[in-house]
């Protein structure tokens, strides 16, 4: 942790104590909020995960039963985990690829940078129900934009995907949606691309390395910290993805045939439709552990491919 620059003047003890006192006053809102809305609730939820708590009646200790039920007797738990894994595996790399592609193209000194930046950033601010309804309309099997496009290029009527009405196509539709939103990620990569020293490319040219090789051997390693950062944050976000399914699936139930029953949606259902708070709390902790394990693995793997020049960023 970097401390602020040391002040030149030495001060008396009284003044320093006064400063410390003020310091606590200033960070108090965070500390109180953190204890009241994060630490406290988390500890309670850990306790609740070992009970059959349902808000209205008294909680009875059930030991590991919630966890055992989830792992051993609940196929929907595994189904939801699988759906989330599917979404994560496709949306994270594709999202990074989209952002990186746009950034690389913008880095070619093409005209109209301002306009392009505006357009590509727009999806980032468009979230919420309104946009999800738009996507529902875009993927409408009969007259939606996507199927109209497929018709126009000659896809026969009977092989057009039914998207959100077909268990095989509902998740791909959500992944396509996520790629649309991921365009805004170009900003990070562009900043990183601009920071790559030019002389590296010049010497590679002299060695006769072609463009693609230069991209793989110079660009990617030089911006790898940014990519790594996006991998970590993207994974965390994708593992928690579910809110979209609440709007696009019929009745918000994760259909068709549980194909959009993401982990979070199942947790939401367990907690706020069935009010099985004990089981839902157990699910929350399973998710926390999964997130931490995946992050730890990524941190380990990053040692092999992330290149930090000089000091860490």
């Amino acid at each position: 942790m970097s401390a602020p620059p040391v002040r030149p003047r030495r001060r008396g003890l009284g003044i320093r104590q006064r400063e410390a006192l003020w310091g606590f006053v200033f960070v108090a809102p965070w500390l109180v909020g953190f204890l009241a809305f994060t630490v406290g609730p988390m500890l309670f939820s850990l306790y609740a995960s070992f009970t059959n708590y349902d808000i209205t009646s008294r909680a009875d200790w059930v030991g590991l039963r919630n966890y055992q039920t989830l792992v051993g007797e609940d196929p929907r738990f595994w189904k939801s985990l699988g759906n989330t894994a599917y979404y994560t595996v496709f949306s994270v790399p594709l999202g990074i690829a989209v952002g990186l592609l746009i950034a690389s193209l913008l880095n070619q000194d093409v005209p109209g940078q301002r306009v392009f930046r505006t357009v590509f950033f727009l999806p980032k601010i468009l979230t919420g129900v309104a946009v999800l309804l738009l996507w529902l309309w875009v993927f409408n099997p009969e007259v939606g934009l996507v199927n109209n496009g497929l018709r126009a290029v000659g896809v026969p009527e009977n092989s057009l995907p039914l998207w959100f009405q077909d268990p095989a196509w509902s998740k791909p539709a959500l992944v396509i949606m996520s790629m649309w939103s991921a365009a805004g990620g170009f900003l990070f990569y562009l900043a990183a691309l601009r920071g790559v020293p030019k002389d590296l490319y010049e010497s590679a040219q002299l060695d006769g390395a072609n463009s693609w090789r230069q991209f793989l051997t110079i660009t990617i390693p030089m911006i790898s910290p940014v990519i790594f950062f996006k991998v970590i944050t993207g994974l965390t976000a994708a593992l928690q993805y579910w809110e979209g399914a609440l709007v696009v699936s019929e009745g918000g139930k994760g259909g068709p045939v549980d194909s959009t029953l993401f982990y979070g949606l199942y947790m939401w259902e367990t907690a706020f439709t069935e009010f099985r708070m004990g089981k839902a709390s157990a699910m929350a902790w399973v998710l926390l552990v999964i997130t931490l394990v995946i992050t730890a693995v990524q941190l380990q793997l990053s040692k092999r491919w992330v290149y930090y020049e000089g000091e860490t960023k």
């Binding site: 942790m1 006053v25 960070v27 000194d109 601010i125 590679a204 998710l287 926390l288």
Partner: protein, 299 residues
């Protein structure tokens, strides 16, 4: 350098000065290609939005015609009016605006207050607390959602705006971190000088540091307003009286109620998005700034 190869894809400005006409032509070709690709991707991004506008202006019959009509004639502007009065959207707008304004004001105040403490004051345990705060960003929101709901239901707050608004009066890790980084760039000489003149820390925070941090504060305000305006799950969870609904929740109920008429649904959705889009175009530079500022912490 071999001329048969395409010119380097990256940083054309860094090309050797003595390039021949051929390599200049290749470079030009490459840029044209990049431009064409960018235009293509832009269209893919804009298409859904244009489709939305087009649908909102269609008549009931035109919505389902194939090949699709892109420019409905005559445009059915009354769809917007019909959609607006199809549900209590005026009330939802008032609710949402108040909700977003209160949360935004509280977030800016609380986060800058805490950030001042972390950036400008020395006290025991500061760096440990700061590290804990950073680490807390890794906790999935879903883990705290359930116990928070239990807490707020025990407090009798479910059905009111309190669970949605009160937490914003306590600083959040992300924006506090962002503002702290910005406050560090404000020279300490200024606060020192004020302190020598007998100014209190509160005065220095409010009158010295805050005015110098306007761009960062604007970024926090805009992101918070945007996020609150678009938030859906929180309001859905805590508000159960239709009079209290926000636009996002109201829109979802508007959709579920009665037969879905796409032209009305798209018209209503457009109106709901409008303020956010307007803010985006008015304060674009703060969005971009915020995105790059947050680049060091969060995507």
């Amino acid at each position: 350098m071999s001329l048969s190869r395409p010119t380097p894809t990256v940083k054309p400005s860094g090309l050797p000065v003595g390039s021949t006409a051929t390599s200049r032509a290749l470079l030009l070709l490459w840029r044209v290609l990049a431009l064409a690709l960018l235009v293509g991707i832009s269209l893919l991004i804009l298409y859904p939005a244009l489709w939305m506008l087009s649908t909102a202006l269609k008549s009931d019959a035109q919505v389902f015609t194939y090949p699709p009509v892109w420019i409905p004639s005559p445009p059915q502007w009354h769809n917007f009016v019909d959609a607006w009065y199809g549900a209590p959207f005026t009330r939802y707008t008032i609710n949402t605006t108040l909700y977003a304004l209160v949360v935004t004001a509280a977030t800016v105040l609380a986060n800058s207050f805490v950030a001042y403490g972390f950036a400008k004051l020395r006290f025991p345990g500061r760096d440990v607390m700061f590290a804990v705060m950073l680490a807390s960003m890794m906790i999935p929101g879903m883990v705290t959602m359930i116990p928070q709901y239990i807490l707020f239901s025990k407090l009798g707050w479910v059905g009111t705006y309190l669970p949605l608004v009160v937490p914003s009066f306590f600083a959040s890790a992300f924006f506090t971190f962002m503002l702290r980084q910005y406050f560090l760039t404000v020279p300490n000489e200024l606060s020192e000088a004020a302190r020598v003149d007998g100014a209190s820390e509160l005065w220095i925070w409010w009158r010295v540091v805050m005015p110098l941090a306007t761009p960062a504060l604007a970024t926090v305000a805009i992101f918070t307003f945007d996020g609150t305006w678009n938030s859906y799950v929180g309001p859905l969870l805590y508000l159960n009286d239709e009079k209290l609904y926000t636009l996002q929740v109201g829109l979802q109920f508007f959709r579920n109620g009665s037969q879905t008429q796409w032209q009305h649904l798209m018209a209503a959705s457009l109106l709901v998005m409008l303020p956010v889009v307007a803010i985006f175009f008015a304060f674009q530079k703060y969005f971009v700034e915020g995105a790059s500022l947050s680049g060091s912490v969060k995507g």
